[in-house]
């Protein structure tokens, strides 16, 4: 009797989350409107501007030597800094979540540091540290290994800015998963490397993937820190974002927006890739989340 009474009251109890239809629609419309205004419209404008004088001109503007060099440099910088940050991020997340030690909190704060430091300051730090007037930089330059105003400086600045992405994605997941499975693997006689490859990595791979994708998008798009250490040598140390600014300042809007559209497209490809993987491995994703 009391059971039935409870059951009959159930829908009323749930009503708190079952908003009337107009509220739901309003919320959805607001979100879509904001997304359209803040994300889609500017993106569409970039693509429209680049195609204003026809797609042939837009493509041609990307085909000259300097533009190709900028695209190549951006890809190299991402190809170097993203794997290195992925490895460093895994190591940091491992150290933080699998062991107890003093100073852990400090390490977490340090990992977040690049998020809170302005990119310009980060760039200037590298100039101070490796510029021709510093002790290390002076020695390196004298021996023919310049760091700032050359590729290594750009890679370092990019790595600094994108350092937190992988670790930040991994730490919550690894904390939640705990150490039981790793401990079990070790008890069963697995080597450390094998345990990592067959137990830890499969567990964290989605978080790792998100981290790497975000890291990659930011690495390709980083402007502030790279602008300081780049030296802006055309066709040599100009990455795509820096090239975009230069072209815009040279009144070459079509070229600037074509490059911007390409950069945006690269980011969109990454996002699409992520969605495709999510869709393809939806079952595994759900399984990982149940852990």
């Amino acid at each position: 009797m009391s059971d039935t009474a409870f059951a009959s009251r159930l829908p009323t109890a749930l009503a708190a989350t079952a908003e009337p239809a107009w509220v739901r629609r309003l919320l959805i419309l607001t979100t879509l409107g904001l997304l359209g205004l803040l994300v889609l419209a500017p993106l569409a404008a970039v693509f429209a501007e680049s195609l204003r004088n026809g797609i042939a001109l837009a493509v041609a503007s990307l085909g000259n030597r300097d533009a190709l060099a900028a695209i190549r440099l951006t890809l190299i910088v991402a190809a170097v800094s993203v794997p290195m940050n992925a490895a460093a991020g895994i190591a940091a997340a491992w150290a933080i979540t699998k062991f107890d030690w003093r100073g852990k909190a400090l390490l977490i704060t340090l990992i977040d540091l690049p998020f809170s430091v302005s990119p310009v300051v980060a760039g200037l730090c590298f100039v101070l540290l490796f510029g021709a007037n510093s002790l290390i930089g002076g020695w390196l330059v004298a021996h023919g290994y310049p760091i700032v105003f050359a590729l290594p400086g750009i890679v370092l600045a990019t790595m600094f800015i994108t350092f937190p992405f992988v670790a930040r994605e991994l730490i919550p997941v690894m904390t939640e998963q705990g150490r039981a499975e790793e401990e079990a693997a070790l008890t069963l006689g697995a080597s450390g490397w094998r345990m990592f490859l067959t137990v830890t990595l499969p567990n964290i791979r989605w978080a790792l993937l998100y981290g790497v994708l975000l890291c990659n998008a930011r690495a390709m798009g980083e402007f502030g820190a790279v602008a300081v250490v780049s030296g802006k040598i055309r066709g040599k140390t100009t990455t795509m974002p820096i090239m975009i600014e230069m072209l815009y300042n040279e009144y070459l809007s079509v070229a600037a927006f074509s490059m911007a559209a390409l950069l945006a497209a690269l980011a969109l490809v990454t996002l699409t890739l992520k969605s495709a993987l999510e869709w393809r491995y939806a079952d595994q994703l759900a399984a990982t989340h149940r852990h």
């Binding site: 007037n133 490859l197 802006k232 040598i233 009144y251």
Partner: protein, 334 residues
């Protein structure tokens, strides 16, 4: 279950990319010209023409690189180690700073090439909206009520310092108190951009202001790029003779072959061919013999005052633009 066992392979690939990028060998002789913002179009053509000229003399094709930015910022980069063999900046004081702080070129660098090491000069003119609706003809019109003047910040922009000094010179020649005149002028400035290109963008693309104080070459370029039917150029009665200097950075020269290339590059700027390119890109060259007459006649003669009138940069810089200098006094008083 799948694992990420290909991860070590990805690392190896990245390592190879790194090695390839670091180990890229330099074949032909290379030269880096560190320049300032408005010379982008000029040096693009100069580099093409010089490369041909150099090859015609039996040399291998050189790799000519160029970097652009605010003149002061570019000087700073060279001091911090940007490996420029040649600098072509807006102000002599910027190259002086490189000489003083890095010791990479001698203190008397400016006497090494003709015309104070300035292969071309420029001046400050007004860019107004089509038809000159506010009837602006000379500096005196800029302090009128309701006239908005766009100029970059003299603290950060070389061009803006010339704007300021040109106004000062006009006031002196027209028996006005220069300091009071500039105070009134800057009271009409709604926004101070950090650089010349930024100010041009503010005026031309954002549509702010009635008159832009601009480098003559920037004004002509804006006219060409953004539409001759949108703006007019007004040449004031008095302006400044700006001498953007060039120099060889001795300390960054790696070999005799590179010194030969760098010297030839700078000398090329003074040849009739180099001068013709300067005229074409709206700079006032010295030698018009090979220039297109149309490029030369667009520059009207006007009363030009050079930096010597203000006692040289070493005196004018701290007096007018230093901390607590005259600009600080008039702009804070606003």
């Amino acid at each position: 279950m799948q694992t990420f066992q290909s991860f070590p392979r990805a690392l190896a690939v990245a390592g190879l990319a790194l090695a390839a990028a670091f180990g890229a060998p330099a074949s032909a002789e290379t030269l880096l010209n560190v320049s300032y913002d408005p010379t982008r179009e000029l040096y693009r053509e100069v580099n093409e023409a010089f490369a041909k000229h150099w090859q015609s003399q039996g040399h291998e094709a050189p790799t000519l690189e160029v970097s652009h930015g605010g003149s002061g910022a570019q000087a700073r980069s060279v001091i911090d180690g940007l490996n420029a063999q040649v600098v072509t900046l807006a102000l002599a004081s910027d190259i002086d700073a490189i000489a003083a702080k890095s010791g990479k070129l001698p203190a008397d660098w400016q006497s090494k090439l003709p015309h104070n090491s300035s292969p071309y000069t420029s001046t400050i003119v007004f860019l107004v909206r089509e038809g000159n609706p506010k009837g602006i003809a000379d500096w005196g019109d800029l302090v009128k009520d309701g006239v908005q003047v766009i100029t970059p910040n003299p603290k950060t922009s070389g061009g803006a310092r010339w704007n300021y000094l040109a106004a000062w010179a006009w006031a002196e020649k027209n028996d006005q108190d220069p300091k009071a005149f500039l105070a009134r002028l800057f009271a009409n400035v709604p926004v101070l951009d950090t650089g010349a290109r930024g100010a041009t963008t503010t005026f031309a693309q954002r549509g702010l202001g009635d008159v832009l104080l601009a480098w003559e070459n920037e004004a002509w370029l804006a006219l060409k790029e953004l539409g001759e039917d949108r703006f007019d150029i007004v040449v004031p009665s008095v302006s400044v003779l700006a001498e953007p200097p060039v120099a060889l950075v001795e300390g960054n020269i790696a070999s005799d072959a590179q010194r030969e290339l760098a010297t030839a590059y700078l000398d090329f700027l003074y040849t009739p061919e180099g001068q013709a390119l300067a005229f074409k890109h709206y700079y006032r060259g010295w030698d018009a013999s090979a220039a297109d007459p149309a490029d030369v006649t667009r520059f009207p003669a006007l009363d030009l005052v050079d930096i010597g009138h203000f006692g040289g940069w070493a005196k004018a810089q701290p007096e007018h633009f230093g901390d607590g200098g005259i600009f600080d006094q008039i702009y804070e008083a606003k």
